[in-house]
C-alpha cells in the first residue's frame, strides 16, 4: 500500500538539495574555527560540573567566566579543568566548586604533562558519552519492547510553570491518548545565558528547562509507560543562548525530542547568527549521538509572513535545516522538519493549498519525521470555529502522512490551554485519525491538478531563494531579510560576545569524540 503522493520536478529537488548543502558547507568555514561560552559550559557539564555557587550562579558559568577573565577560554575549558584535576587528584566538580569560592585560579595551577591531561580529559569525555549512548539504548529498548505509537503522534504542551503540576497534567494527557508531552519553557528563557538549576515551581507562560525538571518529568512518563504499556515521548527546547547545554541535559536525562532550529533564534529571538550557527552544530552532534529527534521551527515563518505568499521560505528553511543536520551526523528519521497549517481560513480552496504544502514537505523529505503545526494566526476567541479549523488540520495531517501532530487548542488565541482544551484536542485528533486512517492510501492526487502544480510552484520559488542565498552567503541572505521578512546583521543580536575564535592549541575532547563516534570528517 503506498501513501498519497505527488510528482515533484526531479531536477528542482536535486538542485535544491545540492544548493542547500553548498550554503551550509560555506557556513562551516566559520563554525569549525569557533567555540562559544555555552559550548565550553557544555563540556564542563559532561565532565560532571553541576550545581550553583553561593550567589546562585551555575558552576559551569562560573568556571567559563573565570577562564574568560583570564583570557584563556580560546584553549577550551576541558584543558584547564583537566589540568587542575591531574595536578590535584580531585574531580572536576570539586575543582569547579573551588573556583566558585575563589579558592582556585585554574591558570595558576602548574602545567601538567600534556599527555596526562589529555588522557584524563579523553577518559572523562568517553565515560560521559558512553552514558549518553546508554540512555539512547534504554529508549530504543523501551520502544522495541512496548512498540511505537501510531503516527501521526499526538503532541501536546503543558505549561503551568510548576513542574509538579505539569506532571499531573502530563499524566492526564497521556491517559487521554497523547503520545508526546512538551514542557514549554518559561517565556524569556531562550535569552538567558545560563540554565537555571533545580526543580522550579514558578514560571511565565511555561516552566523553566532545568536538568532536574527534565528528570522529574522523564520519571513520571516512564511510570506511565509501565502502567499503560505505551512509550510517551518527552520534548523540550534547545534553542536560544544555551542550545548545546540544553541538548546535553536532554541527552543525560533521556529526552526524546528537542526543538532545535539552525536559524530560528537568529530571526525570532534576535540571537546573534554566528553564535547560533556555532551552537547549533555542537547541539546537533549531541542530539545525533543521543538519538533525539529535533523539531525545527519553520512554522514561525508563517506567523510573520503570509502562508501562501511565503510558503517557499518554509521549504527553503527545511532544506537548510536538513543540510545542517546532515553535517552533524543526524539520520533523516530524526529530523522533525517543521511546517504549519496557517493559511487564512477565508481563502477559497485554502485547504487545497494546505494539502499541497503538506505533500510538498512529505515528498521532499520522505524519511524525515515531519512536524506539523496547528493554526494559530487566524485563531480567534470563537472557540467553536477554532475547533472546526483544528479538525481540518487533523484531516490534512492523516491524509498526507505527517508524523508529529502538534495538536491545535481551541483556546489558542486566548490563554495557555486549560486541561479540558487539551482533552478536547486529543478527542478531535483521535476521531479524525481513526475515521480517515487510510484515506491517503485510497485516494490519489490528480496528476497536473491544482495541488501538484502548487507544490511544484512552491518548490521552484524555494529554489530561487536558495540560489540567491548560495550566491550571497547565508549570513548576507539573512541580513537581506529573505527569511521571515526579518533582517539581522552578522554583528547584531544577543550573544556575540560569547563567540571565540579557537586558538592553535584549542582542545575539546567532547567535540572530537562526538565527531569520531558519528563518523564525521572535519576539513580543516
Amino acid at each position: 500500500m503506498s501513501r498519497l503522493s505527488i510528482t515533484l520536478n526531479r531536477d528542482d529537488v536535486a538542485e535544491a538539495k545540492k544548493t542547500a548543502k553548498t550554503i551550509v558547507d560555506d557556513v562551516f568555514h566559520f563554525i569549525n574555527k569557533h567555540t562559544t561560552d555555552t559550548i565550553e559550559r557544555t563540556v564542563l557539564r559532561y565532565f560532571g560540573v553541576d550545581g550553583v555557587d553561593a550567589g546562585e550562579a551555575p558552576l559551569p558559568n562560573v568556571v567559563v567566566d573565570h577562564l574568560k577573565k583570564k583570557g584563556v577560554l580560546d584553549t577550551g575549558s576541558a584543558y584547564w579543568i583537566s589540568n587542575a584535576c591531574v595536578a590535584t587528584g580531585k574531580d572536576p566538580q570539586t575543582i569547579a566548586e573551588a573556583v566558585g569560592t575563589n579558592a582556585m585560579d585554574l591558570t595558576a595551577v602548574p602545567s601538567q604533562p600534556l599527555e596526562k591531561v589529555y588522557r584524563f580529559a579523553e577518559e572523562t569525555a568517553n565515560k560521559a558519552l558512553d552514558r549518553v549512548e546508554s540512555m539512547r539504548n534504554t529508549r530504543d529498548g523501551l520502544l522495541t519492547g512496548l512498540g511505537d505509537n501510531r503516527k501521526p503522534y499526538k503532541y501536546v504542551i503543558v505549561a503551568t510553570g510548576n513542574i509538579y503540576e505539569d506532571v499531573s497534567q502530563a499524566r492526564a494527557a497521556s491517559e487521554q491518548g497523547a503520545d508526546i508531552i512538551a514542557v514549554i519553557r518559561s517565556t524569556a528563557q531562550s535569552l538567558l545565558d545560563y540554565v537555571p538549576y533545580g526543580p522550579t515551581t514558578e514560571g511565565f507562560g511555561g516552566t523553566y528547562a532545568t536538568q532536574e525538571n527534565f528528570r522529574i518529568m522523564r520519571q513520571a512518563l516512564d511510570e506511565i509507560a509501565v502502567e499503560q504499556k505505551r512509550y510517551i515521548r518527552l520534548t523540550n527546547y534547545a534553542s536560544g543562548l544555551c542550545m548545546p547545554e540544553i541538548a546535553m541535559m536532554a541527552s543525560w536525562e533521556g529526552l526524546d525530542f528537542l526543538l532545535n532550529d539552525s536559524m530560528y533564534g537568529i530571526l525570532f529571538r534576535d540571537i546573534n547568527m554566528k553564535r547560533t550557527f556555532v551552537d547549533q552544530y555542537f547541539s546537533r552532534l549531541i542530539v545525533a549521538l543521543s538519538g533525539i529527534t529535533i523539531n525545527t521551527g519553520e512554522d514561525n515563518y508563517l506567523t510573520t509572513s503570509d502562508a501562501i505568499e511565503k510558503a517557499y521560505a518554509v521549504t527553503a528553511s527545511q532544506l537548510i535545516n536538513e543540510a545542517f543536520a546532515k553535517k552533524a551526523g543526524m539520520k533523516e528519521a530524526y529530523m522533525g522538519l517543521g511546517h504549519a497549517f496557517e493559511i487564512n481560513p477565508d481563502i477559497e480552496n485554502g485547504f487545497l493549498y494546505e494539502l499541497a504544502h503538506a505533500l510538498l514537505s512529505r515528498e521532499l523529505f520522505p524519511n524525515a519525521t515531519l512536524k506539523y503545526m496547528p493554526p494559530t494566526k487566524f485563531m480567534t476567541g470563537n472557540v467553536f470555529k477554532g475547533y472546526a479549523m483544528n479538525t481540518l488540520f487533523n484531516l490534512a495531517s492523516v491524509f498526507t502522512g505527517q508524523d508529529i501532530q502538534l495538536l491545535g487548542m481551541l483556546t489558542e488565541a486566548i490563554h495557555t490551554p486549560y486541561l479540558q482544551d487539551r482533552y478536547l484536542a486529543i478527542l478531535n485528533a483521535n476521531y479524525v485519525f481513526n475515521n480517515a486512517r487510510i484515506l491517503g492510501y485510497e485516494l490519489e492526487v490528480k496528476k497536473g491538478g491544482f495541488i501538484e502544480k502548487r507544490a511544484n510552484e512552491v518548490l521552484s520559488e524555494a529554489l530561487t531563494l536558495l540560489k540567491h542565498t548560495e550566491k550571497v552567503g547565508l549570513m548576507s541572505a539573512i541580513r537581506e531579510a529573505h527569511f521571515a521578512d526579518i533582517s539581522r546583521s552578522e554583528e547584531g543580536g544577543k550573544g556575540l560576545s560569547g563567540v571565540h575564535r579557537k586558538s592553535e592549541g584549542y582542545y575539546n575532547p567532547v567535540l572530537n569524540e562526538l565527531e569520531k563516534r558519528l563518523g564525521i570528517e572535519v576539513e580543516s
Partner: protein
Amino acid sequence: MNEANGKVFIDPKQLTSYGDATNDGAVQLSFTLPIPHGALAKEAAKKFVQNLGFDKSEIVTMEDMKEGYTFFVVYGHTQKTIDISKIKVMEVNFRVMSREETDAFIQEKIGRPLVVVGATVESDAHTVGLDAILNMKGYHGDYGLERYKMFTVHNMGSQVLCEEVVRKVKETKADALLISQIVTQKNIHIQNLTKLMDLLEIEGVRKDLLAIIGGPRISYELALELGYDVGFGSGTVPSQVASYIATTLSERTEMA
C-alpha cells in the same frame, strides 16, 4: 415572556440571555472539576452550577479526563436579569478611514509623517499582534502601518526592555507608542505595562506621546486604568489603529 400584538417584547430593564426563545435565560457552560468521574462529580457539578445562579440545568455530558479530573458541558437556565439602561460603556470614538484617506488626513492636518514606535515588552516573546498592525503585510487584507506614506515605523520586536522602549521614544521623538502584550499568565502583562508607564512618566515623555496597548486581553477600560490612551483587543486591524492615531493626534495639534 411578554407579548404585545403578537410581537415578542424584550425588556431592556430585565434583559436575560437567549437560547431559542425570548427570556429563556439559557446559557451554555463548559468546565472541569478536579474530582474523579462518577455520581458524586455529577451531583457536585449540578450544585456548582446552581450556585452560579442557574436554577434549572442539564448536564449534557460528563467525561472522564483521568487523573481525577472530570469535564462537563452544561446547559443552564437563569432567572437573573440585567438593566441595560443603567450601563455606561466606554467606547473610542473615531472614524475608521482607508489607508489613502489616513495618509491624506495626516498630510493635511499635521503636515509631516508621524513617528510610531512598536514593541512587545519584557518577558513577552510574541510579535504576532505587533506585526499584524505594523508589518507591511498587515492582517486580514488590511495593510500594516509600514505601508502608509505618513507613518515612520520603528518595530523593535519582542522582549524589549522597558528602558529600551523609553530610550527609543526619546531618540526618535515618537508621536505614538504601540505596545503589544500576548502572554497574560499570572497577569504578567499588567506588571509589564505598569512598569513601562511609570518609566515613561519618570522620563517625562508620557505627556506628548500617544500611548497605545493591544492584545487579546487588552480593553479600553484596562488601558485607561493603567494610564494609557487607548487599548485595542483581538480582531483589531491596522487601519483602525492608523485612523485612531491620525485623528487623535490631529485633535491634539489643533488644541495646541
